[in-house]
Subunit: 293 residues, 2 copies
């Protein structure tokens, strides 16, 4: 069994990006600039955005954090999106989700210029991903692809089972794993809450991607000997023994599943750190105008 060290891989990628940014700036190029809009004071969102700002620093990017209170109107938020769309210094930007209920997330996402949509949530980027065209791939699937790539994990002809059909993980990951490419060329099965014989299907997986957000859902009896297991779950399970008061818990019962795997990601330190790293990679692409010119 080999542990897939997402933390170390992410650190390495950030170092590579920092080196490239240094070269760009030395050659008179522009330092990539990521802006983030944060609405309200949700604990999770605060943490994510803080980590994104820190990652920008590690990569040598310029970053701008724009804060709104919970009671910001949709109109004000859309006006800021419009401003960032037109700001030539901003290469890419994100609006941290979730948003307060009185604001339509979809409307905000669609208001972002797709050429600056480094989260890859705009329908144009989602559509181009599906078609197989260059685009901003959303962070979590992109992070998993990079782990497969960096660990040299064979994918062609393998059976990849994706647990979960969310728009930001399950569906794009399924699309990417079936594409004619490496990583890809997998036979892909997508399972979800309505799936029957879930255990049986999981046991046929060469590559199992757990993304339902159900802590410890995947048990040893659901995993084939030698499988590759990527765990996207990051549920905060209350735990008074932890300083934070919770324990970040994956969808996979790691202790019993790991011994059966050829490769497995831990939680934390697996897929998670790669997610912000993917955002950094997209920001670098945006800064270089590599995808949309």
């Amino acid at each position: 069994m080999q542990l897939i060290d997402g933390k170390a891989t992410a650190a390495q990628i950030k170092a590579e990006i920092a080196e490239e940014v240094k070269q760009i700036v030395e050659n008179g190029g522009k330092r990539p600039h990521l802006a983030a809009i944060l609405v309200g004071h949700d604990g999770g969102s605060e943490t994510y955005v803080r980590n994104k700002v820190l990652a920008c620093e590690a990569c040598g990017f310029k970053s701008t954090l724009i804060r709104f209170e919970d009671n910001v109107s949709e109109e004000e938020l859309l006006a800021k999106v419009d401003e960032l769309n037109r700001d030539e210094d901003v290469d890419g930007f994100i609006v941290q989700l979730p948003l307060p209920r009185h604001i339509s997330e979809q409307k905000v996402i669609e208001a972002i210029d797709y050429r600056k949509d480094v989260d890859g949530f705009h329908p144009i980027n989602v559509g181009r991903l599906s078609i197989g065209l260059p685009c901003y791939i959303s962070a979590t699937p992109n992070g998993m692809l990079e782990l497969l790539r960096r660990y040299g994990i064979e994918t062609s002809g393998k059976h990849c089972v994706v647990l979960g059909r969310s728009n930001i993980v399950g569906k794009p990951m399924a699309t990417l794993m079936m594409q004619k490419a490496y990583p890809g060329d997998c036979t892909v099965t997508v399972c979800h809450s309505r799936t029957k014989n879930l255990k049986e299907i999981c046991r046929t997986a060469d590559i199992l991607i757990a993304a339902m957000g159900q802590p410890n859902f995947v048990t040893a009896d659901m995993v084939k000997e030698g499988a590759v297991v990527l765990d996207v779950g990051t549920t905060r399970v209350p735990n008074p023994a932890m300083k934070s008061g919770f324990k970040l818990t994956g969808d996979v019962k790691f202790d019993e599943v790991a011994p059966k795997c050829s490769f497995i990601t831990p939680v934390p330190g697996g897929v998670g750190p790669m997610t912000i790293c993917s955002l950094m990679r997209n920001t670098l692409l945006a800064g270089k105008k590599a995808i949309y010119g």
Copy 2:
């Protein structure tokens, strides 16, 4: 075994559309208008476009056929697309594919205003389909959904196996069959040229969708007793006994597979007629500005 009669279903839907158009026009509304651009004289394309024009007539739509010779420049073609985008009388339009090699199909598709893209090939429509937002669903998948709906075929929790990963059939059909909706809520497996154990996987399918374009590929030993089989294949296999010189041949060996099925589509007369019908449904939606206002 029940035969799914795509021809009769398509005729019924066209009659329903014609009735609705009659009402719209009687109430002072606008007759839906579909324009089609045809480049060159490819036999298949000529047939498809002719059938689309005939279907428009049957539905009471206005239709406009715009022809270019094979040597039309990409620039000229794009200028016509732009003209149709701006023509307020045209509700929707299509550019019949394939295009000559000197023209980028993707460039042409992306030049079409997505609000008039009744083929559903524009990245915005593809992306919205993936996200689960209202959009123009491409014709072949949409036709199959309608057959499942009209024949009241249960889909929730079923295992749907899709053979083929094309952008216009396999991928969107997989996405639609896994969505939280009816038809949908299937566990979905996508197989393709790199798939191992293809026969074995097919045998687990409650709903089998054959869309690889390999005549008679699916044999009786690949189909579970009671399965629903939808055959998208329409390969023209040379046959001197036919007046046309060819026989339209599906991906399914119908004679031996049909007895095992609960439902099956024949070729011709199954999925095929529904395809143009779906285009008509999208054109009606475009005429009513039902999706993008």
